[in-house]
């Protein structure tokens, strides 16, 4: 598990008293998907970067399976366990073909070729890009690119996958593709930390933490989150139109599940 223990963080050069994260306590357990939900500037990307030692806390500790991220000698084992995917897939795609890009990480670790081949094939299959191994990444759609970036992280066999707004720059088709991949990864036992400002995405997780001005202001299940609906505005969150429709239908007596904010789920619960 990844543990945040009273973690605070300020960026160098920020005015005195301005902290990106304040006293954050959080646990990311194996086999679970945790969504960290917050507005732009809430500190959620900072939180993501603290999970694998890209940033280290000013106060408090981040422990990855007991390893303290502030211990420089543990940098490699920590980063092998925590894979990271960022908002812009283009920023982390480096090679001229899909399979070469996925192989980049394992190759840098100096793994045997046969092992690299296995890992690459299995990562590409996990994200549903089988058949596109020789495709040039710039010819992929937005959703395919982001799935390629996820495959690159998976090829390192991470125990934890941290994704920082992986769908905010891609179209709705791509969003659905990435969401499906994340659901599959969770089912296969990966721990997933999804950083997002999209309520519809967050409610698909097992647990949700809301972050506002650097502080965790809510932690609980998606059901519990919806009970705090009136605070969404103050947290800089917005119920998406599909979520509003689901609320209205519930108010009219239709049993729409909490996680149903997309047309298919709403439709299937309306006419089940």
């Amino acid at each position: 598990m990844i543990q945040f223990q009273e973690v605070s963080f300020s960026y160098p050069g920020s005015p005195a008293g301005v902290r990106a994260l304040v006293d954050v306590d959080l646990v990311i357990s194996s086999g679970q998907m945790l969504a960290v939900l917050g507005a732009n500037g809430s500190g959620k990307s900072t939180l993501a970067r603290l999970t694998n030692g890209l940033l280290v806390p000013d106060a408090g500790r981040v422990l990855v399976d007991g390893m303290d991220t502030s211990d420089d000698s543990l940098g490699l084992p920590i980063r092998e366990r925590v894979g990271m995917v960022f908002q812009h897939p283009d920023d982390q795609i480096v090679a001229p073909a899909v399979e070469d890009d996925v192989a980049f990480g394992p190759e840098n670790l100096g793994m045997p070729r046969a092992e690299i081949r296995l890992r690459v094939d299995s990562a590409i299959a996990d994200v549903g890009l089988t058949g596109l191994e020789r495709r040039e990444p710039h010819l992929l759609s937005g959703g395919q690119k982001q799935r390629l970036a996820i495959a690159g992280a998976l090829a390192m066999n991470p125990r934890y996958l941290v994704l920082d707004e992986p769908t905010s720059m891609i179209d709705s088709q791509g969003k659905r593709e990435v969401t499906e991949v994340l659901a599959r990864l969770r089912a296969s036992g990966h721990a997933v930390l999804l950083v997002t400002h999209d309520v519809a995405e967050a409610v698909r997780a097992d647990r949700v933490a809301v972050i506002d001005a650097g502080r965790i202001v809510f932690q609980g299940t998606p059901e519990e989150l919806l009970h705090r609906r009136t605070e969404f505005g103050a947290w800089g969150l917005e119920m998406p139109p599909g979520g509003v429709l689901a609320e209205r239908l519930r108010a009219l007596g239709r049993p729409i599940p909490v996680r149903a904010m997309d047309a298919e789920s709403i439709g299937s619960s309306l006419w089940a």
């Binding site: 732009n40 707004e165 709705s172 969150l237 998406p240 239908l249 108010a251 047309a263």
Partner: protein, 275 residues
């Protein structure tokens, strides 16, 4: 009058063996006082369309005219404003005020006039010139940076304002601010918004154009598109969720007299089985 593309085509690497057609025979008419939403999946030609409409790329076939004259870099300057997708890529000066004043200065205004235009533009996008003017553009939040980039374009008071994915990556507050801003511009300019999300501007747009593999897949009044939700999936897009639920309901045999984007009205119709 208007910004008019007439059967405009553009191919990258034209005439070379690996020519990639990006825009094929696209016709679009933008009038002042209107908002046109352009939707399309990745690679459908949306950004190329904006570059051609802004005069940054020259159509190889067909024509582009602005207020009756052929569109060139010269006739576009100051008349067509383009907000690119990544605002960070457009901000460059030491202070926000200098950044926003850069455009008007290049149009030949005196430094004082340029500063005045810049101050007005900053106020217009909700960034108080007194509080923000002296700040570094690189100290802004995502939503502020996006609005600052738009201010840089508004400071030239363009007759046509083109915006590429103006709300992508922004949270609820940022999206609402940018949306309000672009809708307000419709009062004096012709606004074209390119997006991959149908949800965002469909309800407010006057016209909708769907690009599909570089060609016009569908074009018409946005209100008509709302009444034909199947056009979105026909071109590889997803209709807004509220509309999509009604489409699924219609497929399941429910009959509606009309489709709506309003969740309240949609819920009543779905529960009542129609209106």
């Amino acid at each position: 009058m208007g910004l008019i593309l007439d059967s405009a085509s553009y191919a990258y690497g034209a005439g070379r063996p690996f020519e990639v057609p990006a825009l094929v025979g696209v016709t679009l008419e933008v009038q002042r006082g209107s908002l046109t939403l352009v939707l399309g999946s990745t690679g459908s030609g949306k950004s190329t369309l904006l570059k051609v409409a802004a005069g940054l790329l020259q159509a190889q076939r067909g024509s582009v005219a602005i207020d009756g004259r052929p569109l060139t870099l010269d006739t576009a300057r100051g008349s067509v404003g383009l907000v690119f997708q990544d605002p960070e890529a457009q901000l460059f000066a030491d202070t926000l005020l200098d950044d926003v004043a850069f455009g008007p200065k290049n149009l030949g205004l005196t430094p004082e006039e340029a500063q005045t235009s810049a101050r007005d533009a900053l106020s217009e996008v909700g960034l108080d010139p007194v509080a923000y003017g002296a700040r570094s553009p690189f100290s802004l939040s995502g939503g502020e940076a996006r609005r600052a980039a738009i201010a840089g374009v508004l400071s030239m008071a363009p007759s046509y304002l083109l915006a590429d994915e103006p709300t992508a990556g922004l949270d609820a507050t940022g999206r609402a601010a940018v949306k309000r801003l672009l809708l307000a511009q419709r009062e004096r300019a012709g606004v074209v918004v390119v997006s991959h999300a149908a949800e965002e501007f469909l309800g407010e747009a006057d016209y909708l154009m769907i690009l599909d593999a570089g060609e016009v897949g569908w074009a018409g009044p946005a209100a008509a598109a709302i009444q034909s939700p199947e056009i979105f999936s026909a071109h590889g897009l997803r209709a807004p969720e509220v509309l999509e639920v009604q489409r699924i309901a219609a497929d399941a045999g429910h009959r509606f007299s009309r489709y709506t984007l309003d969740p309240d009205e949609a819920a009543r119709m779905l529960v009542g089985g129609g209106v």
